[in-house]
């Protein structure tokens, strides 16, 4: 009988400690997810947006001749500032072990300094009336499109996949729940055994321990289900559609850069039109997959306005084409692109909110459970000791 008591108490304490530790760790993971990984993914996405906006704006400034309009210049500067601020936020979210992300952030930060230098050279040349300015602008844009933005995209991809991957794992591992069930069975069996060996049918200590264990099993199961469900919701209704929206936004910004740079380089790059068509077609597919209010209309309007630019160019009316690309009229390319970009940005913000809520719910569902598990198992162990000790003395 003494052996049974020792085994039971040891098992109870082991289950309590394991459950407590696992749930605690899980909450830690969720906290890291909420306070580091997810904000880092979001910062990466915002860095991408700000940088490509800066790139397009720098090019747009060239469309208007030697001196860039003040508001365009201010937009460019603000975008560079947002990108730098995003880099600081992102660095803050990277764990010191994540060498890969640190390397990407360093690459982005260093190349951004080189980029702003080249843009400044381009602007100076343009202002001096030297056509070489466009070649520098072209170089800066190539650095952005082929060096900086892919790094930002990789950073976003790695962080957002870290977010969705943790959404796949369950709230509390099944092994822990199985262990608790096993201990409960052991408790019930020892009650049966004790009933056979003694005159009493009912041992209140063991019974209390069983009830406590049953409570723990139910708590673990329910908390795990609720937490897992919250994370799944965060993934399927937040993270995954958000990835699609982010991807569409990236493509939209690339297409806009092609449109503006294509106009600037007209006569030396016939590929930019093709790339514009390719990218807008991809955005169309993504929007079929994930509907965003107003985005499809804006995309359609944008493509129409782009066709008009193409027609003007083909007819030799460069001034007219530039006017459409620069114009703020609601049906023209700038306004339509802005509408599309804003719709996607708002959608991303809303989806991100949903994702964060899901992660927060998954965390809250596990609240108190680490301490609850420890307390329940310790109490159950005490109950076992209290229940069996009198029987032991009876035995002697």
């Amino acid at each position: 009988m003494a052996v049974v008591a020792v085994v039971l108490i040891a098992a109870l304490l082991a289950v309590g400690a394991t459950a407590s530790k696992t749930v605690f760790d899980r909450q830690g993971q969720l906290a890291t997810l909420r306070s580091h990984t997810e904000p880092l993914a979001d910062a990466a996405q915002r860095i991408y947006g700000a940088l490509s906006f800066a790139n397009t704006t720098a090019a747009t400034a060239f469309l208007s001749g030697g001196v860039e309009p003040r508001d365009v210049r201010e937009r460019y500067e603000a975008a560079i500032g947002q990108a730098s601020a995003g880099l600081v936020t992102a660095s803050n979210g990277v764990s010191p072990n994540d060498i890969n992300s640190l390397k990407l952030l360093t690459d982005i930060s260093n190349q951004l300094a080189v980029y702003t230098g080249i843009v400044a050279v381009a602007q100076t040349n343009n202002r001096a009336g030297s056509p070489i300015g466009v070649a520098y602008l072209n170089e800066s844009s190539a650095l952005m499109q082929q060096g900086i933005l892919p790094a930002a995209e990789r950073l976003y991809a790695s962080q957002s996949s870290a977010v969705t991957t943790s959404g796949h794992s369950v709230g509390v591992s099944r092994v822990v729940i199985a262990m608790a069930v096993l201990v409960l069975v052991m408790l019930l069996l020892s009650q049966v055994m004790l009933a056979r060996h003694s005159h009493r049918r009912f041992n209140s200590g063991l019974a209390l321990a069983s009830v406590l264990m049953a409570v723990l099993v139910v708590w673990l199961t329910v908390a795990s289900l609720v937490s897992t469900h919250a994370l799944t919701t965060a993934r399927t209704q937040g993270g995954e559609p958000m990835n699609t929206a982010v991807h569409a936004r990236i493509l939209a910004q690339q297409a806009r850069a092609e449109e503006v740079l294509g106009l600037l380089k007209r006569g030396s790059d016939s590929m930019s039109d093709m790339r514009f068509d390719e990218r807008t077609a991809q955005i169309g597919w993504l929007l079929d997959e994930h509907r965003v209010d107003g985005a499809a209309d804006a995309l359609h309007g944008w493509m129409q306005s782009h066709d008009e630019i193409k027609n003007k160019l083909a007819a030799g009316d460069y001034g007219g084409a530039v006017a459409i690309a620069q114009d703020d009229a609601p049906q023209d390319s700038t306004a339509q692109f802005t509408k599309l970009d804003t719709a996607l940005r708002d959608d991303i913000t809303a989806l991100r909110e949903r994702q964060r809520d899901g992660i927060a719910d998954a965390y809250t569902a596990l609240n108190l459970l680490p301490f609850g598990a420890a307390a329940l198992s310790v109490l159950a162990a005490l109950a076992v000791a209290a229940g069996i000790a009198p029987r032991l003395s009876e035995y002697h």
Partner: protein
């Protein structure tokens, strides 16, 4: 009871004891150097054949007799001119005014004046390098005045006017460079346009040089300014346009290859070729050619005599 307490302590230690401050990781600086102009590549090998010498520069005799093509253009009242805007000072878009300007633009306007009576009736269409020959072949443009060297393969695809400008390929280097001619290029890096006649000439006259090819000649100037090339080579007109933008550069060395410029016209439109040649005769004769040369190309030195036309009929 003591065991229970011990277990509790143990459990709480398990829970709390896992966090430990990690040291900061040092990441070395990366990618701090200027990138190469986009699309630049070290050309592995360029065919070094000389530009063919055939009868391509000989054109049809001038005539102002109206023909079907010229009549059609006159009825339309506008002339569609294929040109580019990245070729300072030949044809470029002035960054300050946004207008298309240059030697070729003015020559085009003179031809348009003779064809339809008003120099402002030119419809400029921008054509890219690979598009220019097809644009003439499918008659998207009436005349192609984008800087185009007359070569035998091109002359098989489209008709050319008489030579209206004689360019010659030379070298552009930073002022004070030790490079004074093709012989000094061994082991150095020379930039030129990918798939141009110039890059083949460089390979022929400086076989020991490393050749950097770029999609657009302006990118060569960027490479030169960024110290990624020791010299660049193309037509002297383009070089003069670059010197105008950066006075720290100079044109050196002997002419490496002649680059006769011609106006491209569809092969089936002989009457238009003759009309354009008649217009070019007028431009050469009445001093317009010299005036335009002085307006745009003084960086090349004083205006020479206009190139003598050659006719094959």
């Amino acid at each position: 009871m003591r065991t229970v307490a011990a277990v509790l302590v143990l459990a709480s230690m398990l829970i709390v004891g896992c966090s430990k401050a990690q040291p900061l990781t040092d990441v070395p600086a990366s990618l701090t150097t200027l990138p190469m102009p986009s699309g630049a590549q070290v050309a592995p090998s360029v065919s070094g054949a000389a530009v063919e010498s055939c009868d391509a520069t000989a054109s049809l005799r001038p005539s102002t007799e109206p023909g079907p093509t010229v009549d059609a253009i006159r009825r339309r009242g506008r002339v569609v001119v294929g040109i580019d805007q990245n070729n300072n000072p030949m044809s470029f878009r002035d960054p300050v005014t946004g207008q298309l300007e240059g030697f070729l633009v003015d020559i085009s306007r003179e031809i348009v004046r003779d064809l339809v009576g008003d120099p402002n009736k030119a419809d400029f269409r921008l054509v890219s390098e690979p598009d220019r020959i097809p644009a003439v072949q499918n008659k998207t443009v009436d005349i192609l005045t984008k800087a185009t060297t007359i070569t035998c393969p091109r002359a098989q695809q489209i008709a050319f006017s008489t030579v209206f400008f004689e360019g010659s390929q030379r070298l552009l280097v930073p002022r004070g460079s030790q490079v004074r001619g093709p012989a000094d290029l061994a082991g150095r890096r020379v930039c030129s346009g990918l798939e141009t006649t110039s890059i083949a000439t460089v390979a022929r006259v400086a076989p020991a040089a490393t050749i950097l090819g770029v999609p657009n000649m302006d990118d060569c100037l960027v490479a030169l300014q960024q110290g990624q090339a020791d010299a660049l080579s193309t037509d002297d007109v383009l070089l003069a346009g670059m010197v105008a933008q950066d006075p720290n550069l100079e044109i050196v060395g002997p002419p490496l290859e002649a680059e006769p410029y011609g106006i491209g016209i569809n092969k089936s439109q002989d009457d238009l070729v003759r009309a354009v040649n008649a217009s070019l005769e007028r431009i050469r004769r009445d001093g317009t050619w010299e005036a335009l040369y002085r307006k745009w190309l003084t960086a090349l030195g004083p205006a020479p005599r206009p190139p003598e036309p050659k006719y094959r009929d």
